[in-house]
Amino acid sequence: MSGYIRDAAALARKDLLLELRGKELLPAMALFVLAMLVAFRFALTSEQEAASQGLLWVAIVFTALLALGRAFVPEREQGILDALVLAPCDRSAIWLGKVLATMAFLLVVEAVALPAFGLFFGGVSWATVAAVVLANVGICAVGTLLAAMAVAGRAREVLLPLLFLPLAIPVVVGGVGATVADDPARYLAFLGLYDGVFAILAWATFEYVVVE
């Protein structure tokens, strides 16, 4: 088991190291989410200000899509995925490594986005922060599985949002609920349930997506 964790951690570290050296993804994600928040400011009339709370979640899901769309592209382009599949490690460790790396990217970007949102639209509650952290788990768990599916096909960039958004709707519901409701506990529990169910399913089925 410790070997399993070590494999996943090594793979996650590889992705983080690549990003640290290349800096392709994180600046793009941060700029994207900021630009989106500014665009939202002009999409809402003054009576609709409250709707910004919901739009925050659209911004998070779309920003996650940016990271997920890139998740397996280097692997495919350079044939690394075949090598990883052949490597003497559990295939689901590939999934776990990718989930951890993507989650780290998302957390960094949200550390920029949430304060910016608070600045532009006034205040971010603790429930929102908790919901964002919980939502990250579900988004990355499902998103990584779908990204591996999409990258196997011909229409990779176009395909992932189509696969991901219907599955992300419950995350948006849980997130927006935790942000706006008086008692966010129910919504946080729902996000936790989503994380658990889809993480187990994605972990168990990832192997079949990358192996022929």
Binding site: G153, P166, G174, F198, V209, E212
Partner: protein
């Protein structure tokens, strides 16, 4: 291939569909009592709800075939699962259409976010349409079969999770203004009619599924033979 025996069962299934569905519609129009609140328009219930339940059955059947494929790695489950999801999407679309018509008649709008089942079918429609996009972007083979199977499995998990999400969302989006709980305390005549219609719809789905599967298998066989000849 046992074409003749599968043909015979296909004919039996088709006849059963014709009898059950025809009988069900006749019962719904002539025998079932009229709903006190909604009048004659409530009779679309005998089509709409069986369509929805049949669509669920098809999606679950597709996921079951997907599970069998991942389990046994037998190639034939791929085509079966694909056909089941295909049927599910058709019945799902019909559910959306009949639900929309019902909403127009009883509430005067073509679409209402207050109707949970319809909202769920809209999400499922998006999800399973993406299934086809995914499938057509992959090269035929073991990899495509695996990926389709995993995606179909995600679908049946998404159904209850989305339903829960839609219920939760009602707390902060809109209070439910419309209620249409015809299923509470259904009189016996209505229940019998509903069950006949449901059986008919399931039989229809099974007939279409078998025919489609037969056609696709023949298609595959023709392609193989053509390759041999060339």
């Amino acid at each position: 291939m046992s074409t003749s025996s599968s043909n015979r069962s296909g004919v039996i299934l088709a006849v059963a569909t014709f009898v059950l569905l025809g009988g069900g519609i006749a019962l719904a129009l002539l025998w079932a009592p009229e709903d006190a609140d909604q009048g004659p328009s409530q009779r679309i219930f005998y089509i709409h709800v069986p369509l929805a339940l049949t669509a669920y059955a098809c999606f679950f059947w597709g996921a079951w075939k997907g599970l069998r494929l991942l389990w046994t790695r037998e190639e034939r489950y791929d085509l079966e699962g694909y056909t089941a999801v295909h049927m599910g999407l058709i019945f799902g679309l019909l559910t959306l259409a009949t639900g929309s018509i019902w909403a127009k008649i009883s509430w005067g709008v073509w679409w209402s976010w207050g109707e949970r089942q319809l909202v769920l079918f809209l999400i499922l429609f998006l999800f399973y349409s993406a299934y086809f996009m995914l499938r057509y972007s992959l090269e035929p083979g073991a990899s495509r079969a695996n990926i389709s199977a995993v995606y179909a499995l995600l679908g049946v998990v998404l159904i209850p999770v989305s339903f829960l999400a839609i219920r939760l969302a009602e707390n902060f989006i809109h209070p439910v203004v419309f209620t249409r709980d015809v299923q509470d305390n259904l009189p016996t005549e209505m229940l019998v009619t509903f069950c006949v219609c449901l059986a008919g719809m399931l039989a229809l789905a099974a007939t279409l599924y078998q025919n489609e599967l037969l056609g696709k298998r023949l298609d595959e066989r023709v392609r193989e033979l053509r390759e041999v000849l060339q």
